[in-house]
């Protein structure tokens, strides 16, 4: 454990203060003061051994004794280092419990495939000339990706809020855009990993095909991103875990189930057929299915346009919430 007086501790203090050079609060710790003098004199050339004691820092106002850079960290328009760190944290967070976050969705999707094929296989043999299981597989994969992208961002933000460590993300010099991008990319990464493992798992039981790779990849990323944004918005809005569970139960699951995962919407009677076209989840499943088996209920370019538009809208909304600090900052 690094004590606040080691070199690495001092570095952390400095890197989190953006305009450190101008104001030094009275409460600032000793290593930070030592760093301030380093900032005035510029970084020295020699390196200091790692296990320095507190007393060593008290004489560190000469440039010879300061080695590792204790200057405020500088960055350009984008804080790439912060962005990358936040993204890595998001990815490690779910990989650490991958049985829960990657293996479990795969098993559940395979079970769904099994029960729907067993239950409906005799009644619905083909949809548009394609065996029911092959029609079902891309829909189930999209659903798994979407649900996990949503779960990743929403649970991450809510648990950070509840444990109070959300300040570790809000305090550092990470702009709202960087915040939104890092979290969304974390969700997209989980969505894609889940999608890929589910795809591989299903390929043992069902003939999986790729009709158009660009469509497949676009819709996989766009679907995960849409739900990652939605998860962020939900996570920022929610005060407790059961609020997130309520959004999952009453918003995400109904939209996902009624989006044509299990049936072709051309089967729907009239008012519902039109209503289904207002469900963005329909375009994500339809587009992904077009990429996989080449069968779609609407023209592929409409799906791409809708997904891009919805993503832009949700991304903007998430960005707005983060930048105003809605339910994040006091």
């Amino acid at each position: 454990m690094a004590s606040p007086f080691t070199i690495s501790g001092a570095k952390t203090v400095l890197h989190t203060a953006r305009s450190f050079r101008t104001v030094i609060p009275d409460t600032v710790s000793k290593p930070a003061l030592a760093g301030q003098s380093a900032a005035l004199y510029g970084p020295a050339q020699e390196t200091v051994p790692q296990n320095k004691k507190q007393s060593d820092f008290l004489v560190m106002d000469s440039r010879q004794t300061i080695g590792v850079s204790l200057t405020p960290k500088r960055f350009g328009a984008v804080n790439w280092y912060g962005l990358w760190s936040l993204y890595k944290k998001e990815v490690y967070r779910f990989l650490k419990v991958f049985t829960q976050t990657v293996a479990a969705p795969m098993v559940t999707s395979l079970l769904f495939l099994a029960i729907f094929t067993l239950a409906l296989g005799h009644a619905v043999e083909t949809i548009g000339g394609i065996p029911f299981s092959q029609f079902l597989a891309p829909g189930l994969i999209t659903m798994a990706m979407a649900q996990n992208a949503f779960a990743n961002t929403s649970s991450s933000i809510v648990s950070s809020k509840m444990q109070g460590n959300i300040v570790d993300v809000i305090m550092p010099p990470i702009s709202p855009t960087e915040f939104v991008v890092a979290y969304a990319m974390g969700g997209v990464t989980r969505g894609l990993i889940v999608g890929l493992t589910t795809w591989i798992g299903m390929s043992f039981f069902v003939t999986m095909q790729v009709h158009s790779l660009p469509h497949l990849v676009f819709h996989a990323v766009a679907a995960s991103m849409m739900l990652a944004f939605l998860g962020m918005i939900g996570g920022i809005w929610a005060d407790k875990f059961d609020h997130v569970a309520a959004i999952t139960n009453f918003v995400v699951t109904p939209f996902a189930f009624l989006s044509g995962t299990f049936y072709s919407i051309s089967r729907l009677p009239e008012p519902f057929y039109t209503i289904a076209h207002y469900n963005p989840f329909f375009y994500m499943i339809d587009g992904f299915r077009y990429g996989a088996i080449g069968q779609a209920d609407t023209a592929p370019w409409i799906g791409i346009a809708v997904m891009a538009g919805v993503n832009a809208g949700l991304g903007l909304m998430a960005w707005r919430m983060v930048s105003t600090g809605y339910k994040l900052k006091a």
């Binding site: 239950a119 296989g121 059961d242 189930f257």
Partner: protein, 282 residues
């Protein structure tokens, strides 16, 4: 616990005295108040913490019913002489009820262990059997409170009143108790949330989904049809479906025996674990 029990023999100080007595409370052979409190806490905690989320299973069942009517549409198939949704409804009801029973005991066990509040239960003057009854009855009540709304939303899709009320009660109660005991064992065995969720995902969910609640075993080919008989949840669903609709995939008395024996076996395991305080007492 031994210390707390020892104080039972002491006489309570004068009841007539208007001031609050500080004497040890006397407990008869069975700590009725303690068990009732534990049951109450289990049920109330569930409803206070989860609130609306408790309607989740009902909504999910409704979605399943809608999706399946849409997917099957006019080609609605008959399974064993029943319309498909009528065949499906009992399975959805019992699956939702027993899953919640499992989660009730398992979640509270892991949660209390992580929070350290488990000492409030194991340190109270409750014997192993009393603790077990408290958790199991609490979970069963919760399971029933989940199963009932699921049944209600499925009524428009063809779920009806039970044909055999006695069998219905037997299967639903034994089912909830069995899964509550299993949840208690799984919860005591797990140190962390992810080890519990691994048990739920890799043991319970496959057993539940592949239990024949969604399809008749007539749809299966031979090796799997026999394997299905080894799934205790299949017997639960089979018995409950018989009680609700009169249709059964396998002889009901076998199902009743399997479920009953399993409940008894899990009870023996659970009471042993609670009595020795497995992974709970230092």
């Amino acid at each position: 616990m031994a210390v707390a029990r020892a104080s039972r023999g002491q006489p309570a100080r004068g009841r007539a005295a208007p001031r609050v007595t500080l004497a040890a409370r006397r407990i008869s052979r069975f700590n009725t108040l303690g068990v009732a409190t534990l049951i109450w806490r289990q049920v109330i905690a569930e409803f206070l913490v989860f609130k609306l989320v408790l309607l989740g299973p009902a909504l999910q069942a409704l979605l399943f019913a809608v999706v399946i009517s849409l997917a099957v549409g006019s080609r609605i198939a008959e399974v064993g002489g029943l319309p498909f949704l009528e065949f499906l409804a009992p399975g959805l009801v019992i699956a939702a009820a027993v899953q919640r029973s499992f989660e009730s005991t398992a979640f509270s066990m892991v949660h209390e262990k992580l929070e350290g509040t488990i000492a409030d239960v194991f340190g109270a003057p409750l014997s192993a059997i009393e603790i077990l009854i408290g958790y199991t009855v609490g979970a069963t009540v919760t399971g029933l409170c989940i199963g009932l709304p699921v049944w209600l939303v499925l009524v428009p899709f063809g779920a009806g009143l039970p044909q055999d009320a006695g069998a219905m009660l037997y299967f639903v109660l034994t089912g909830c108790v069995t899964l509550a005991l299993f949840g208690l064992i799984a919860g005591m065995q797990s140190h962390r949330w992810d080890s519990l969720s691994a048990k739920e995902t890799f043991i319970l969910t496959p057993l539940l989904l592949l239990s024949g609640s969604f399809f008749s075993i007539a749809a299966l080919e031979e090796p799997f049809r026999t394997l299905m008989m080894a799934n205790p949840i299949f017997h639960l669903v089979n018995g409950f479906r018989y009680a609700m609709t009169g249709y059964a995939d396998a002889p009901v008395w076998i199902s009743a025996a399997v479920v009953g024996l399993l409940a008894a076996a899990l009870f023996l395991v659970a009471i042993r674990l609670v009595a020795i305080g497995y992974k709970v007492k230092a």
